[in-house]
């Protein structure tokens, strides 16, 4: 785009580049100059602080004002020009702001949380590198670079999950995350290749803008028709499946969700930033970017998968005892909501939920981090052999950690979706839209809002269970080990400030001045293009009321179970319980079937390699040796033989000639006479 931009736009672009590059600069500085220094934390934090300020400025300039897209030729292959550039539209500035704003409190938090860790500097290198990748991912204007940063995000996630690489679990977890992400990456790459083949461009704006290449291409008679290329429609399906695989791997959708719970092996602050708020949102972000590619049938599939993921993850979260695992499954569940929302066409609501979820999930994780940190302190002070993440050991912490309790409460309520929180706004939006979408689709599709609704109830239950077990009642540890000493607290300002900030952001005023009506959220108007219908009817009141009523009932029920122990104790051995506790056996299924299958396949390949290929190689070797033997034989007996023969002939001739020079007078005479007689005989013969 060569037309001159106004000065302010150019400045905006420079700001965007600076916002992206600053974390990278921090990474480089940390990596090169600040080996083990504690300064590295502050360098990274400063970088992300500036980035977030810049992001905020960019946000105000671009949001609902204009779209800025600059690009220049990157390189050329044949007649295909590849451009690189920066695309700033509502979606990217939203993500830009979100990532940097979430990253900032996490950075501050991390400087305190990781201060005693041996890999402090390394941690901030990774963190800065991640921020760079993520920020670059959201502003890139073409699919190639998007893919590159997509990979880098996965890679830095891999590094951070395996941050404590001396722990076997962490190594297993990061390997798993990496491998599963790889499946998604392959899908995404396939999709990008197909799209390039179809449209001859990687440019996101040209492809996906309103009335862009994708919008103008049609599917007719089994052919996928774009401007100048027609391909069988199967390619369009493959592209969508590829994109979906990418989304599923990054955003932990069924069936590629299993890495996310394991990823909790990383530091909790990392879980907060990456595996709750930002990186997992990359999948949803990608969906937002390529949204026009999906046709209604595919969107429906997407919705069903998202709904199923949400439901499945919620059921698993019911019975987990590991604090971070509960949060991880709730993340999967919420991501399922987002994908479902994308599927039903509630594009704006989905992104809205993405934003609100980022804040309150980050808040929850940071709080959980504090809780775990403090339990670990207790463990280390008293030499207990306990799992600091097990909620069975906790209880009554609200008095010890008041701020953390309040923060977690806000986060939990937002997660459930109770009024006055941001979660209410986005979640009710999704539920309502889902219901409206399902109305026109027949009875089967009513299952989707039904399940979404049910999931919401389950969410209420497991959040209540978690909150009650952690913060209410009495500390189970003290109950089990009465003699232990407990000196714990909320920690310094570096713990508190992020919690306060995120807690405030999880409340309604940040998004809407009307705490009960999601339609009034300013964020939604940024994506009006996709906001299909906003007919206000009775359902918009009925559904929130119904959902919240149910949630309150469930919370009360949970309270009765866990606090008063008055109601029936839930059976801990039923089929459903085991299904939930063992995470639907999906992991086990993967291990038993997929991994085993792969291993068997590798064994077969190994066998094939050893027997057939090595055999072939050995055969070649034997043939070579045999040929060499023949050659050697030939050399020795034929070539050398010829040489020897010639030598022998020469020797014989020499010997023969030598005999004439034997010094015997009579022999000379004889020879002479022989010559004479021969001449005579010849003369006679000629004479005749």
């Amino acid at each position: 785009m060569s037309k001159a931009l106004p000065y302010q736009d150019i400045q905006t672009i420079y700001f965007a580049i600076a916002a992206v590059v600053l974390p990278f600069a921090a990474f480089v500085i940390n990596f090169l100059f600040l080996g083990k220094s504690k300064l590295s934390g502050w360098v990274s934090t400063l970088a992300i602080l500036v980035s977030s300020v810049l992001a905020a400025i960019i946000f105000t300039r671009v949001w609902n004002v204009q779209q800025i897209h600059v690009k220049q030729i990157w390189f050329r292959i044949g007649d295909s020009y590849l451009y690189t550039g920066i695309l700033l539209n509502n979606l990217s500035v939203l993500m830009l702001g979100l990532v940097s704003v979430i990253a900032l409190p996490v950075h501050i938090y991390s400087t305190a949380y990781m201060k005693d860790d041996a890999g402090y500097s390394r941690y901030f290198q990774y963190l800065s590198f991640f921020c760079f990748s993520m920020l670059a991912l959201v502003v890139m204007d073409n699919l190639i670079l998007l893919y590159a940063f997509w990979e880098l995000v996965g890679f830095s996630s891999y590094l951070l999950i395996g941050f404590w690489f001396d722990r076997a679990n962490a190594v297993q977890a990061n390997k798993k995350a990496f491998i599963i992400n790889r499946i998604g990456d392959i899908g995404l790459l396939t999709a990008i290749i197909i799209l390039f083949n179809q449209y001859q461009t990687f440019d996101i704006e040209r492809l996906f803008k309103e009335g862009g290449l994708i919008a103008s291409s049609t599917i007719k008679n089994g052919l996928w028709i774009s401007a100048d290329i027609q391909t069988p429609v199967i390619w369009q399906y493959i592209a969508c499946i590829g994109i979906f695989l990418g989304v599923a791997a990054k955003s932990a959708q069924f069936p590629l969700h299993t890495w996310l719970p394991d990823a909790m092996e990383g530091p909790t602050s990392v879980s907060a930033l990456i595996h709750a708020a930002t990186m997992v949102a990359a999948g949803v972000f990608l969906l937002g970017r390529v949204y026009p590619l999906f046709n209604p049938a595919e969107l429906t599939t997407l919705a069903v998968i998202g709904c199923f993921t949400a439901f499945m993850a919620a059921t698993i979260a019911l019975t987990q005892n590991d604090l971070k695992r509960i949060l991880a499954y709730s993340t999967i569940s919420q991501l399922g909501y987002m994908v479902m929302a994308m599927g039903i066409g509630a594009y704006a609501t989905s992104l809205f939920h993405l934003v609100t979820h980022a804040f309150f999930k980050c808040l929850l994780f940071l709080s959980a981090g504090i809780v775990i940190h403090q339990i670990k302190h207790i463990k280390e002070d008293n030499n207990l052999d306990i799992d600091p993440q097990d909620i069975a050991n906790m209880g009554g912490l609200r008095k010890k950690l008041p701020l953390t309790f309040i923060a977690t409460l806000i986060g939990g309520l937002a997660l459930i979706g109770l009024p006055l929180t941001s979660g209410y706004l986005s979640k009710e939006g999704i539920l309502i839209t889902t219901y409206e979408w399902a109305q026109g689709k027949g009875d089967m599709m009513l299952l989707v809002p039904l399940f979404a609704f049910f999931t919401s109830c389950l969410t209420a239950f497991y959040v209540a269970r978690m909150l009650l077990k952690v913060f209410f009642g009495d500390l189970n540890l003290q109950f089990l080990n009465p003699e232990i000493k407990i000196h714990i607290g909320d920690g310094g300002w570096r713990y508190k400030a992020p919690l306060v900030f995120l807690a405030l952001c999880s409340l309604f005023p940040f998004f809407s001045f009307n705490p009960f009506l999601h339609e009034e959220t300013w964020l939604l108007y940024g994506f009006s293009a996709y906001n299909s219908k906003s007919v206000f009817d009775i359902m918009h009141i009925a559904i929130p009321v119904l959902v919240n009523g149910a949630s309150l009932l469930i919370i009360y029920y949970a309270y009765m179970i866990y606090m008063k122990r008055s109601t029936i104790v839930l059976p801990q051995s039923g089929l459903l319980y085991r299904l939930s506790f063992n995470e639907w056996y999906i992991d086990r299924f993967y291990n038993r079937v997929v991994v085993k299958f792969v291993l068997v396949l590798s064994d077969m390949a190994f066998w094939f390699d050893r027997k057939v290929i090595d055999g072939f190689v050995n055969l070649l070797e034997k043939i070579g040796v045999f040929t060499a033997g023949i050659a050697s034989w030939f050399d020795r007996y034929i070539v050398d033989g010829i040489l020897h023969l010639s030598a022998v002939i020469v020797q014989a001739i020499g010997g023969f000639a030598r005999r004439f020079q034997n010094g015997k007078v009579q022999y000379y005479l004889f020879s002479m006479l022989l010559a004479v007689i021969v001449v005579f005989i010849l003369k006679i013969l000629i004479w005749n």
Binding site: F670, L673, L674, I677, F680, I681, I684
Partner: protein, 183 residues
Amino acid sequence: MSIVQVLFYFMGLITLASALTVAISKNLVRSIFMFFITLFALAVLYVLALADFVAVTQIVIYVGGILVLILFAFMLSGKEALAAAQLQSNRFISLSNLPALLLALLFLVVMINVIFKADVSNLQWIKEANGVKNVIGSNESMINNIGINLMTRYLLPFEAISVLLMVALVGAAHLSRREGTRI
């Protein structure tokens, strides 16, 4: 067949037989004496060829000179040489003699072939000699004529050969002198 012819064939036979005996004989002394016979028989053949003077010279020089010389040399060469000469196992037909024998036979065949081909009796100059009666008769002596020719026509070769003979004899004497008498 005249008596002359018979005599010729007889003497020719003796000549050849003795020569062959020389060739065959293992004994050096015997071969020397057979050579003696050969030379005499040849002298007879010279007589039959109407060359009386040559025959006489043959006997005088060969038998009286050369043969005696050979015998002297043989004697002088000492007992070892004699023994070595006697010991030689020189069979006429043996593998080592075969090439020589073949060569000799080949020469013989070629020469006889040449002799019959040449038809020497009808050569031009012989016919001319017959025509002008330049042929020695069987009953005339050529000694006079030879003496005259030697002193007139062949004087130069005669003198040359006498000098040569002189030189040869001096040389032979020089060669055969004893080591100790070196001047």
